[in-house]
Amino acid sequence: MASDALDNSVTLCRSCDLVIRKRALPSGVRALCPRCHTQLYDTPYCSINGMLALCITAIIFFFPANTYPVLELEFLGSMRTTTVLEGAIAVYQQGYWVVAVAVMTAAVIAPGILLVSILVQIVIIKYGLQHSLLRSILKQALKLQGLLTQLTMLEIYVISFLVAAFNLADFATVSFSFGTFCFTMLFIMHLFLLREYDIEHMWSFLEK
């Protein structure tokens, strides 16, 4: 049995430790653990070039998404706007730094690092697999991937625009602006990027 693992025909469920024989899957189908229904593996359909294009597009949207206003409010003739960053800073200035750090991490820092990390991974896989220093950078980036994906909460932030706007519409005029568009695009690009991304496939480049 132990030698089976070396030729990758056997895998273990990470939630319940069940031994599972891998079998070929039709594309788009996920293998689930028969005992606890944890996702095990799927057919990798990640194209490195497609991911590179999505990643660069996402990075281009990242900057306006964080520097342009995402929400505009008009009340008795005066106008206020806010960016994602200013939202976190405003909470921080009121002394609620725990909340500020949470918002900052989930909406700005983690998505930013995630995108840069994926870009670095792709570039190393395409051009730098023979250098040992670059290989160790790739290894560290892949180890961080799981944490960064969990910390990135762009989808929740997109919903929060809507909730905040409806909330405030009660007593002021609220409108979206260019930043909202960029942030939504950033979210969509990141969604497609992560659909293409397959961590097991990325690790396989290091094992060659």
Binding site: L12, I156, V163, W203
Partner: protein, 214 residues
């Protein structure tokens, strides 16, 4: 997926283990993962206590998070403080039912279900309760997936505070429950993350549903 007869063989029994970071299957005798150098642990028994500690702290913090106000609103000189619940009640009164449902789910239902669910889960492992492992695991996957949505309220507060700042005229500020609520989210997410789920399947192995698949 169809199952084969040796369905209930565990990695532990055949000397294999799976890397917690990169999921690579390795010989259980090696100290570190050959692919990513993470320290390998066949079963993390201490994770149970860590998870309990985090969960109990979160449950305690849930009380101030719901009792104290989470926002302070000044509207033309009049100051009102809203707790999570009164904020939602206000939305219901002003006929914004869909938004009220979203916020109720994200801020009240999800944290509560997460804490109750994890308590049942941890109790089942610690005290070997005969609850269906499959249902526990499905519940656990749901908790893992839905837990992060509690962040919604904090995002809404940060946007509101930043955009509503016109002094005495109209001004929104966060209030103490915001910090407690942020910590509840952090601690419950950590409690779910640290737990070694393989322990559930070990402890209850003799009891039930290991045979339902064969």
């Amino acid at each position: 997926m169809k199952s084969n007869p040796n369905d209930s063989t565990l990695g532990k029994q055949v000397g294999l283990t799976c890397c917690p970071t990169c999921n690579k299957v390795t010989c259980a005798k090696s100290a570190c993962c050959s692919r990513c150098d993470t320290k390998l642990i066949i079963r993390d028994y201490a994770s149970l206590q860590k998870s309990w500690a985090l969960l109990i702290t979160a449950a305690i913090l849930l009380i101030p998070a719901n009792l104290y106000p989470i926002t302070t609103l000044t509207n033309q000189g009049k100051v009102t403080q809203d707790t999570i619940f009164s904020g939602i009640a206000h939305l219901v009164k002003t006929d914004m039912i869909p938004i009220a449902i979203i916020l109720f789910t994200a801020s009240i239902l999800v944290p509560l279900l997460k804490i109750i669910g994890l308590t049942i889960y941890l109790t089942a492992i610690s005290f070997k309760l005969p609850i269906s492992k499959k249902n526990l695991m499905i519940g656990f996957h749901i908790i893992e997936w839905i837990g992060r949505w509690s962040m919604l309220d904090l995002f809404v507060i940060s946007l509101t505070v930043a955009v509503v700042n016109m002094g005495q005229l109209l001004d929104a500020k966060p209030a103490p429950a915001a910090t407690a609520f942020a910590l509840v989210i952090l601690l419950t997410q950590l409690a779910a993350k640290v737990i070694d789920t393989r322990l559930l399947w070990d402890r209850l192995e003799s009891k039930n549903d290991s045979s339902t698949n064969t």
